[in-house]
């Protein structure tokens, strides 16, 4: 019998029905494991009645929160797989997901106009603020997909515009959360303040909390004063957030403190600047725990033992994982290779099973990240061998933006790269070569043009017209030339 993550939640709900599953985001809001289970079952019945069944893949186009969690688990109860369609993407990016991943239906907010070209029949109301839209078949799913028992398909755009789509089975997610919990030790006494996007972070976080009986604390906004207030009000034991959230907490002027119950302040999504780590520790007397999370692996490393002494390190790899560095330079820096439980099951397009992906490195997954390991086994991430850009923790490849820019008739060639930004970490900038016979369009026009095709965090902050782009001898763009 294949594993279903929803069944693991049901076991917790049966064991502790009155235990709070979610607190907030509004004052006094609390739903217990039993009530959340009822909500999921009711939704699953509605979905079943509407024709959602085992083997289907359903897009989830909905903001993070209690309903997002309930929809995900309800779909699993139906035996369906979930493909998040992040709300912040541009319409064209959302439609691209439908073209690349075979999606049978979408659960959406009432703002579903962008899907209407793909729908079959009228929208079916689910809750007051959501509906189900059945979709036309745009492509067939890979034949081997159903056999993997998929829980999630996370769409990722590749470096050359090729869509990848990471497939995570129920078994894989379960392996990941078990491996992570060898370090995190999450249990029913934990109350986790949650601040991230559920469309990007769900597997080794929300699923872990609900599988291990913890309580999720949702905040009504992510200002420092609010996070501190909610952490204290709910006696949080763990905060799971991006560096920007800790920066806001550090500079909060309300004078609030963190509760003595807090045992871990997990940093994820982007690199933590030393000055934030030091300022946070100085104000709250607590170190920040940096982690290393990647969609293909899960959470293989976390600095849980020496966050203060080895600030800047994402810690040792957790017990279930192995690590080695490939092609180390004279300073010991090399590409991080990992192995262990819960590695991705497959890439969706082009279809590649786990064994094929790992074959190139003898069973190890090449992460594309560059790292250094000190004498005691602490890993420091020092860069990316891939040219990914991270804006406030939202990651994308520059080629995506270049492809959009080069579709414009006035642009002959584009090079997009990151420059450092104070609060966002990085921000994209574009160098453009004008197509012959054209006048350079104004910056405001180019931003408008990009916004039709790209999420706002991917739109370059500046556009500079150049005579030519820097390239290697083999013609490859040099994106770091102006960093």
């Amino acid at each position: 019998m294949p594993l279903n993550l929803a069944e693991l939640f049901l076991r917790q709900a049966a064991e502790r029905p009155g235990h709070p599953a979610i607190l907030g985001p509004h004052d006094g809001a609390c739903i217990g494991y039993g009530a959340l289970q009822s909500e999921m079952r009711t939704l699953a019945e509605h979905l079943n009645t509407a024709g959602i069944h085992s083997g289907m893949n359903i897009g989830l186009h909905y903001p993070g929160g209690q309903a997002y969690i309930a929809f995900t688990y309800a779909l699993w109860l139906c035996g369906a797989c979930v493909t998040p369609i992040p709300m912040e993407l541009a319409d064209e990016e959302k439609q691209q997901i439908l073209h690349h991943i075979a999606i049978d239906a979408v659960i959406s907010t009432p703002d579903y106009g962008l899907f209407t070209a793909f729908t079959l029949g009228a929208a079916i109301p689910l809750t007051g603020k959501s509906c189900l839209l059945k979709l036309k078949t745009l492509r067939e799913p890979p034949p081997e997909l159903a056999g993997l028992n998929p829980a999630f398909i996370r769409f990722t755009s590749g470096t050359t515009g090729d869509a990848k789509g990471v497939i995570l089975s129920h078994e894989t997610v379960f392996e990941r959360i078990q491996a992570a919990n060898q370090g995190l030790h999450i249990g029913p006494n934990d109350r986790v303040v949650w601040l991230l996007s559920m469309a990007y972070h769900f597997a080794v976080s929300i699923v872990a909390y609900l599988t291990f009986g913890a309580t999720i604390v949702l905040c009504k906004n992510s200002f420092g004063s609010t996070i501190l207030q909610e952490a204290s009000r709910h006696r949080a034991t763990l905060i799971y957030a991006a560096p920007a959230h800790y920066e806001l907490m550090t500079h909060d002027r309300s004078g609030q403190t963190l509760p003595p119950s807090l045992r871990l302040a997990i940093v994820t999504t982007a690199r933590l600047r030393t000055e934030i780590a030091l300022a946070f520790h100085q104000r709250f007397g607590l170190p920040l725990n940096e982690t290393y999370g990647i969609i293909e692996v899960g959470l293989p490393a976390a600095n849980l033992n020496q966050p203060k002494e080895r600030q800047g390190s994402v810690g040792r790899v957790l017990p279930a994982y192995g690590i080695k560095l490939l092609g180390q330079d004279g300073n010991g820096i090399g590409e991080i290779l990992l192995r262990g439980p819960g590695l991705l099951d497959a890439y969706y397009q082009p279809w590649q099973r786990r064994e094929q992906i790992l074959q190139a490195h003898g069973g190890w997954l090449a992460t594309g990240d560059l790292g250094l390991i000190d004498g005691d086994g602490y890993l420091f991430i020092v860069g990316r061998s891939k040219e990914m850009i991270s804006v406030g923790g939202m990651k994308f490849f520059p080629q995506e933006v270049e492809n959009v820019l080069e579709r414009h008739p006035a642009i002959r060639a584009a090079c997009v790269f990151a420059i450092k930004a104070r609060r966002l970490g990085e921000t994209p900038v574009a160098h453009l070569v004008l197509a012959e016979g054209n006048e350079p369009p104004a910056e405001a026009y180019l931003k408008d043009y990009c916004s039709q095709y790209l999420a706002s965090y991917k739109i370059p902050e500046q556009f500079q017209w150049v005579g030519s782009l820097a390239r290697t001898a083999s013609g490859k763009l040099i994106r770091n030339a102006d960093k």
């Binding site: 906004n221 923790g393 706002s456 902050e461």
Partner: protein
């Protein structure tokens, strides 16, 4: 030689209108929620999430030639378009006073 198209940060247009339009175009992608006006609760209505706030700050700093202090990123300044305009006026007044 490179020629940048970045606009200068000085503006003589109405800040309320500029911020209103920026939020409509950048954060709402032109989808105007019912009842959206300059007193609309940008945080409580979920119009500004944490990434949108950071992007908005970067734009406001560049566009209005101001700088947010780390301790000035608080809900009361981002509650509405009018609250943002009030904060910017206050920052400019201080800056001009100096």
């Amino acid at each position: 030689m490179t020629a940048t198209l970045s606009q200068t940060s000085k503006t003589t247009m109405n800040p309320t209108q500029e911020i209103h339009e920026h939020i409509l175009n950048e954060c709402l992608k032109g989808r105007v929620p019912e009842g959206f006006d300059d007193d609309c609760q940008l945080i409580d209505e979920g119009i500004l999430d944490s990434l949108a706030i950071m992007k908005l700050i970067a734009w406001l700093e560049k566009h209005f030639s101001i700088e947010f202090g780390d301790d000035e990123i608080v809900p009361e300044h981002f509650n509405s378009v009018n609250a943002l305009v009030g904060f910017i006026k206050q920052k400019r007044a201080v800056s001009e006073g100096n």
